[in-house]
């Protein structure tokens, strides 16, 4: 993880983004539990995310961080506890799930672009079918966001013709086209070549500066330092530590997070 330690060193002097967090609650999780079969994958999670807050979730693999954010838009179903997203409680009702999914954008580790559609169609299909936007308007929105992620010239290509970094930026633009209030990032840079990590992180930093509520599962500690309001460290399905990034990196409290940080930053 070369970019990681370099970034951390460089960023110690860089100015941090000012927090855009407000007092309004965006996501609330109360006593959340989830099992995969017999395996207790999320244990008593209590978390409140305020509107405009940027949260980085880190932890060793298998610690439940991806599962946690996938519960927020019901890609995973929780078995007990409550999740309230923008005042809507997540439950069996399909309508409420749809409502929440419209409000929450998600970016995946493996991009999950639709390979049979052009970049432009990838960005417009949900706008047209879910938000019922007319084609022209949807295309305008899509082009505006593709410009924001700096790849408007690729609009007519297919995902397979783009590099990994470009694909991930398209995935970010695609999610933003739906004008979500909350963005979830599930290890957005883990599948990328080192040369491409930066362009995706730059896009995310740019997005953070607009005041978007963001939850990022990532190992990019430089990114965490630069934009996060809070770092959440998870291990074995529990939240082990929760702190401001500066305090978390310089003075981790639990043994487990000290060990994790020493392994992530140690080389």
């Amino acid at each position: 993880m070369q970019g990681l330690s370099d970034g951390l060193v460089a960023d110690q002097s860089a100015s941090r983004q000012a927090s855009a967090a407000t007092d309004e609650v965006a996501i609330e999780m109360i006593g959340l539990n989830k099992w995969f079969g017999q395996f207790h994958v999320l244990r008593d999670i209590n978390l409140t995310v305020r509107r405009g807050e940027r949260i980085v979730i880190c932890g060793p693999s298998g610690s439940g961080k991806s599962t946690l954010i996938r519960c927020i838009n019901r890609l995973e179903e929780h078995q007990s506890g409550r999740i309230i997203v923008d005042g809507v409680e997540l439950e069996e009702d399909l309508k409420k799930i749809d409502e929440i999914r419209r409000d929450v954008g998600m970016v995946f580790q493996s991009f999950n672009l639709f390979p049979h559609l052009t970049i432009l169609d990838n960005c417009t299909i949900a706008q047209r079918k879910v938000l019922q936007r007319p084609k022209r308007e949807a295309e305008e929105v899509a082009m505006r966001l593709l410009e924001r992620v700096k790849i408007p010239e690729q609009a007519m290509k297919y995902p397979g013709q783009l590099s990994g970094g470009q694909q991930q930026r398209v995935a970010i633009a695609r999610a933003l086209c739906m004008e979500p209030n909350i963005m979830l990032f599930d290890e957005p840079t883990s599948a990328l070549d080192p040369e491409m990590i930066k362009e995706v992180l730059d896009t995310m930093v740019d997005l953070a500066s607009t005041g978007m509520t963001m939850l990022c599962v990532t190992h990019e500690m430089g990114f965490a330092r630069e934009v996060a309001d809070r770092v959440i460290f998870m291990d074995q399905g529990q939240i082990m530590e929760e702190n401001e990034p500066e305090a978390f990196f310089t003075n981790p409290q639990s043994d487990r997070s000290r060990l994790f940080l020493s392994q992530v930053l140690g080389h």
Binding site: N73, R101, S110, F114, P115, H116, L117, K129, Y158, A175
Partner: protein, 587 residues
Amino acid sequence: MASGDQSGGVGFVRTEEAPLLPPPRNQSGLVGWLWRNLFQSMSNFSTPGAAAQSGAMILVTVSVAYFAYVQIAAFLGFAVFQAVWVADDDAKRLACATVAQGGQLPREWFGACYPFVSAKWKFLIYYNYPPAELWRVNVVFLLGALGVARLVAEAVPNRASVGAALVVAGVGYGLLVQELFGETFGVRVGVQMLIGIGLLYMLLRDRDLASDPQQKDGPRAPLFSRGRDQVIRLVLMALVIGVAVVSVAPAFSGDRSVLQEVALQTPMLLMTGALLVGSNRVVGAMMLTLFPLYALILLTGGHFETGGAALVVWALATLAFLAAGWFGRRGAFGEVGEALGGSAWTIGLISAALLGVAVVLGVDLGLDPVPTSSWGGLMVTLVVAVVGIVFSLPLGVLLALGRRSSLPAVRYLSIIFIEFWRGVPLITVLFMSSVMLPLFLPEDVDFNKLLRALIGVMLFAAAYQAEVVRGGLQAIPKGQFEGAQALGLGYWRMMALIVLPQALTLVIPGIVNTFIGLFKDTSLVLIISLFDLLGAVQAALTDSEWAVPVQASTGYLIAAAIFWIFCFGMSRYSLFMEQKLRKGRAR
């Protein structure tokens, strides 16, 4: 890891680019291909062992080539070189008889007897369909063939050339029909194509071309250039009105009233027009809605009476559903109404559409009824195959989705259905539908035999199709489902827009395989005494006026050739579609 320090003299730095060279000579071109595929394996004589191997290879190659030559030569000898192509009308069997059989041909002669085929071709294609009504079958054939051609010839760079080709084909066909049957109707078909161009050009062109997504890919030659549009429009309109009058005029002398004639010709007019200038979407919609209905009416004669009382009850029920849906969705019946309103509205709409179809089918268009017992030949083969193909794919997709559903009832019903239909032979299905089903039905319910066979073939093919499609669904990564869900696409939209397009593309070879199997399986309807192409050939063979030894070989050769043309066409089309759809998977 921090970047390493590579210092000192051990490193290597390239100072000039390595040259780009052409491939070695024997790797490319015809010579290279021949060398690699034919001669390389038999050219090594360096050691005794290798020489023995090469010698064996030469032996195998020569004998395979010899057997291939013998077979092909024998086939071509029968089908082409020795064949009798033309003969006098009254020569009949003598045209293909050897000296020993009382004819002119040498004793050892063995070749195809094509005069037999040309004497019987109407029978092979239309079977016992009344000769005076053959134009109805022809119109259905023509519209169907043109519709398929339009949908197949997708993404043609130049619409004008396609239009021109279709006009030539249409007029040519019209003239052919007139030549063969001496009907003015053939000319009318050609003329109506012109009307169609005019009408739909005016109605569709601007909007259609503007919204055609393929326009984005680059400029295409428009049907007419913009500057001349107004003049052309006026001329076309005059032409349309003039020709419309001329084309309806013959009706006054016929058995049909003017209204009946207009009702009969309007759909034809609309369809020919849509075929010429409509976008693929328009043509596709037409081929799936208007065309089947029209074909049904033309082929059978229409005039299916649904009892008046039944229609009234049906209409009332439809209205009730629509009203419940309309008010329910607006909250008139509280939350329950809101939840069920959408479904009630959908059911109401479907019911209304079916009611419309029932009413249309009940209209008397002045066509003589032709019972399906006199259908046969290629016509029945095509009807069974096309209906089976068109219905089995959507049904198969639904079954495949059902089998992967998380709802246990839907899943088990799908599994039971698929495993039942895959577990019984088609012959059993057809036999049951023909012999057993009537035993279970009330005596006065007469369920058409062809319709029963159609349903049997359709359900049978759907079960196979379902498993093919399921294979495709399983190949789609989970991330595609999640990506679609995260964007807020519901189940049906996710499937229709994201998953199925990819899954179906993957399994095109399997789908077409099933189609081809279905097409050939249609000959099994023979066992319930429906006479498809093969059945018609066999029936024609019983004609003693043509009783010569080569009669059967010729008949089966023709049947095989026709089946082969259709199946090979499907096979090529599937390859073409695969290549076209592969673009999304570039890299």
